[in-house]
Symmetry: C2
Subunit: 594 residues, 2 copies
């Protein structure tokens, strides 16, 4: 028996009991012949004391100890004279009578503390040590709790978790597929799924009308920050439903997680937002008001179209622009010249790409702008009225083409949200965005691509446009698709799928596939749809990201026990790596790059 | 709104309500102007009636229907005059007022019935149709319930589910690894995990003292019946534990599944076996008494060593054998000559490999054997006493070397169990087998191999033998390893791991690895163990197989939604398959077999 209790368990009521604990040495302090050891395990820290009266051999054992040694200690629980009320076990300590070293430890390459001295790279190599630190431990435990609550909720709603295969078939469009050479079928390859999309649709055909799966997906793409070649989705699909039922069902899931994870587990205060219907925005409105299809609505600061007010007053920059837009930064009228110059530099960076920034302060004397000389005080006052700016507020204006200006204003809005502290980590603002465009025109190949995937249904009211042969009509067709956005992060996306074979045929036609093309690419699913496909739709959530947003973190990497770096490498394992020639030969492949 | 209720929901209390149902046409019957439709969904079947008074257009719609059409029907719930008490909805029917075809269906290539007319291959191609059949639906739903209850139980016991990576590193011993070429790191490969063994041990080093994961594993081996290239494990590990705590913890899991899945979900009767401590057998006893390391203890029929009684009486076959063993088949004394000849042929098959079968019947006149002339009646009586055979029983004897004879008797025992109906699908007999050999000598390479893996701990009491240089001593070292066996099926296996670096070093030495070899093969985990590894151990259960045993099936394939066939192919997807030259080039690989 290595322990009678964990290091997070003992309290003042246990005083006088003989206990055995096991764990890691977090800290050792020697004070005038007495030694104090902070003993750590997953559950907490308990203080051990080796008194100055302790036998010599006990002191000798203690003298061998170092940080991160694994020990087992037996002793009596005592009330501490010097209580530490910051930790749950801080009212007691263990007067040690026996101590055994279970395993020695080399000095770790960085400190195992909440704030460590180890750099990112070093910590990645020693991930198993980094995982000992509280911030990562909390992230991993949060992830477990999230997954468990997702399963509890969906199971209670009659969803079945059904595992779909990892070794599947590569499709000709699968440029981003990882492939797996087959030893038993040489010259042939499996692919790893980018998502279980086809399988969940097949399950709908098979009659499993409520499916979900917390499932690993794979995408072999050039990685951006915060992307991983393998990631986890909460993948869901329902049959005999329309959009409203899908949104309501998964709003239910989100509310369950707000309650069970944010409130009950993380002890966030309950928020009225969690109980009301979630706000919904069309894609067009999201772009127009927030310059983004995933607006962070923790704060207002909507984009205001000032084009008609700003143009034609002789200010050449505005006069020559298609679009002039503004946001109102509440309470920022006292921004200094330096702060404004800094913001101007910020919007001029290539990532934002604005030519310049016009501002107007609402001060007691009226509205004071950098372009005063072109506008009457009344005109400036109108800007304030239009943007809702009141005394003490700052109006920030950009201009250019409508699309790029809205996007730049969207980015500036987020930046101002950050600078003004409006994007609080412990505030959660859910949002549905719907009515995305169905099709995207690609100038290079002169064809349409499906914005989501070729099985996404057009909205019923847009069907006539969908059958039109005009490019302008087709560009306006809305998909029956929706995204779940939380704090400006796209957490989930889904759609109602096409279940009518005539609509599906038209879709392939619009995408420029011949029948034989379509059959080659999507044969097994087109075939399945001939045998009685029900109406269906679904959604998939990025599980890693949802965990990160709940945990208040920017990075998904902390929420993955063994993540890969930005080059797709596992630096702890040193993977990927070369393999034997023998193994290559057995698989019937050769490397062309050596 | 496609439906107000499911097809399994309506009861006599709903009589008079207007409802809308949606589902698949299971059956259509026309009786004198009235049409009866069995409408099916995941939840059940409800009878629809289209009366002879129904409008013409409704009848016209009905005339278009065929099996597996997807329809939506609105109508009034009526009490049936002709009740079908075999199904839950059998007391009511729906008098249809509106009927819409949601999707047409081609006639399926086999009948969607519990007993279908489709062959295995055909059903595999149309897996999404096969999954509509009740036996598969029950299997998939059982699997969901099992997974959910495993998670509930382990979470309640403070286990954290932690996801480990799928793209990992291939090891030089990884001949059975699937590999994945990396596009971003050309010439290098990831491997898919055969199990998360290293990761769970790293998690123990990281302090996550109770880990589990229901996880996909991959093995590229020549497939036997009932093996899959990808399969699912319940993978578990604990720190600061000895064997007893591991066994008790997972006995708790098994008991929870007996209660929640077998009794509550599948409505099996509760069984005293489920509540008592599970029987335990050492590996040596299992081999000696059952001729197997995974005995089916649903029935007795233990193997009896008759060597000393049977030898030296002039019967040459026994006299020249190392070992003579017997089993007693209760109540089988009336086996006919033909049945015995048939059994003799059965044991002579190459899979069993016995030279012949000797039998002795216990009849009112005494013990009558096929080798009567060599033995006195008293000698034969002793056989009966030794094997516990009573009047009406049949003694079956085999001889040869001890090991092969025990194995053959073990196989014969199972066969007799089958023939006598002693292996009941609804009877569940759990068993722990422990003290497996640590090492296996390989004559070909003249070295020891780890029977489990090189991190399995020897039993503490065998440590002196472990440090011996004699082959005979090393062969006798027991591993601190254990298997969980249910109804003769190995469901789980695990061990206490080595956490002492001196023992680990000795293990590598015994296995003939130099330090640099060991480092190359297991570097990252050996390194991790230097930073404070706690004592730990664990177990992994074959989840597909556990589901199959609970479901009373021989085949795991029914419990996997989209399984592969015996050649590792997914015949529905037609995977694996060739990929583009372009894609190969991008990955930096070429096929050497085209």
């Amino acid at each position: 028996m290595y322990r009678t209790h964990t290091c997070g368990e003992l309290r003042i009521v246990n005083t006088g009991s003989e206990v055995t604990l096991a764990g890691w040495v977090q800290r050792l302090r020697n004070l005038g012949g007495m030694t104090f050891i902070d003993l750590r395990d997953r559950y907490g820290i308990t203080q051990l004391v080796i008194g100055d009266q302790a036998p010599v051999d006990l002191h000798q054992t203690v003298d061998q100890l170092g940080r991160e040694f694994v020990i087992k200690a037996k002793g009596i629980v005592l009330e501490r004279s010097n209580k530490n009320l910051k930790i749950d076990t801080g009212e007691i300590e263990i007067l040690v009578s026996e101590l055994h070293i279970l395993n020695a430890a080399q000095t770790p390459p960085f400190t195992i503390e909440d704030e460590t001295d180890g750099g990112e790279e070093l910590r990645a190599v020693y991930r198993y040590l980094d995982l000992r630190r509280n911030p990562l431990k909390r992230a991993i435990m949060l992830r477990h709790t999230m997954a468990h609550e997702v399963r509890n909720y969906l199971s209670s709603q009659q969803f079945l978790e059904i595992e779909t295969p990892v070794l599947i078939k590569s499709t000709p469009e699968g440029a981003r597929d990882f492939v797996v050479p087959s030893r038993m079928n040489q010259g042939q390859f499996y692919a790893l799924p980018q998502s279980p999309q086809s399988f969940k649709q097949l399950l709908m055909v098979a009659g499993y009308d409520r499916y979900f799966q917390i499932v690993r997906c794979f995408r072999d793409e050039d990685l951006r920050a915060d992307r991983q070649p393998e990631f986890t989705q909460i993948d869901c699909e329902m049959a005999f439903v329309e959009r409203e039922e899908v949104l309501n069902t998964f709003e239910g899931l989100a509310k369950h997680l707000f309650k069970s994870v944010l409130c009950d587990y993380l002890h966030h205060p309950d928020h009225p937002q969690f109980h009301q219907p979630f706000p919904r925005l069309s894609y067009a409105d999201a772009k127009r008001l927030y310059g983004s299809d995933k607006p962070d609505i923790r704060f207002e600061m909507k984009i205001c179209d000032l084009t008609s007010l700003a143009k034609g007053c002789g200010f050449g920059v505005f006069d020559s622009a298609d679009f002039v837009g503004a946001i109102c930064a509440k309470g920022a009228a006292d921004y200094t010249r330096k702060q404004l110059d800094d913001l101007t530099e910020w919007v001029k960076r290539p990532q934002i790409g604005a030519k310049g920034l016009v501002y107007a302060r609402v001060v007691p004397e009226g509205v004071k702008s950098s372009v005063d000389k072109f506008y009457t005080p009344e005109a400036l006052q109108q800007w304030a009225e239009e943007t809702g700016a009141q005394q003490g507020d700052l109006i920030l204006m950009l201009c250019g083409t409508e699309r790029t200006t809205l996007e730049a204003l969207g980015a500036l809005r987020l930046e101002m949200g950050n600078r003004l502290g409006l994007r609080k980590k412990d505030h959660f603002a859910p949002l549905w965005v719907y009515d995305f465009p169905l099709l995207e025109w690609d100038n290079e190949t002169q064809r349409f691509y499906a914005m989501h995937h070729p099985f996404t249904s057009p909205k019923p009211q847009d069907l006539s446009k969908f059958y039109s042969n005009k490019k302008e009509d087709l560009e306006q067709v809305c998909a029956n698709a929706y995204d779940f956005v939380l704090n400006g992060v796209e957490i989930g996306g889904g759609s109602i799928r096409i279940h009518d074979s005539a609509v599906q045929k038209r879709m392939f036609e619009v995408l420029g596939f011949s029948d034989s093309d379509a059959d080659y690419r999507f044969g097994f699913i087109i075939n399945a749809f001939k045998y009685g496909a029900p109406p269906h739709g679904g959604i998939a959530f990025g599980f890693d990201r949802w965990c990160a947003v709940f945990g208040g973190s920017e990075s998904i990497r902390d929420y993955i026990a063994f993540p890969k770096n930005n080059s797709g490498r596992d630096v702890m394992l040193d993977a990927p790596s070369r393999i034997d020639e023998v193994q290559m030969k057995e698989l019937g492949i050769a490397s062309t790059t050596i």
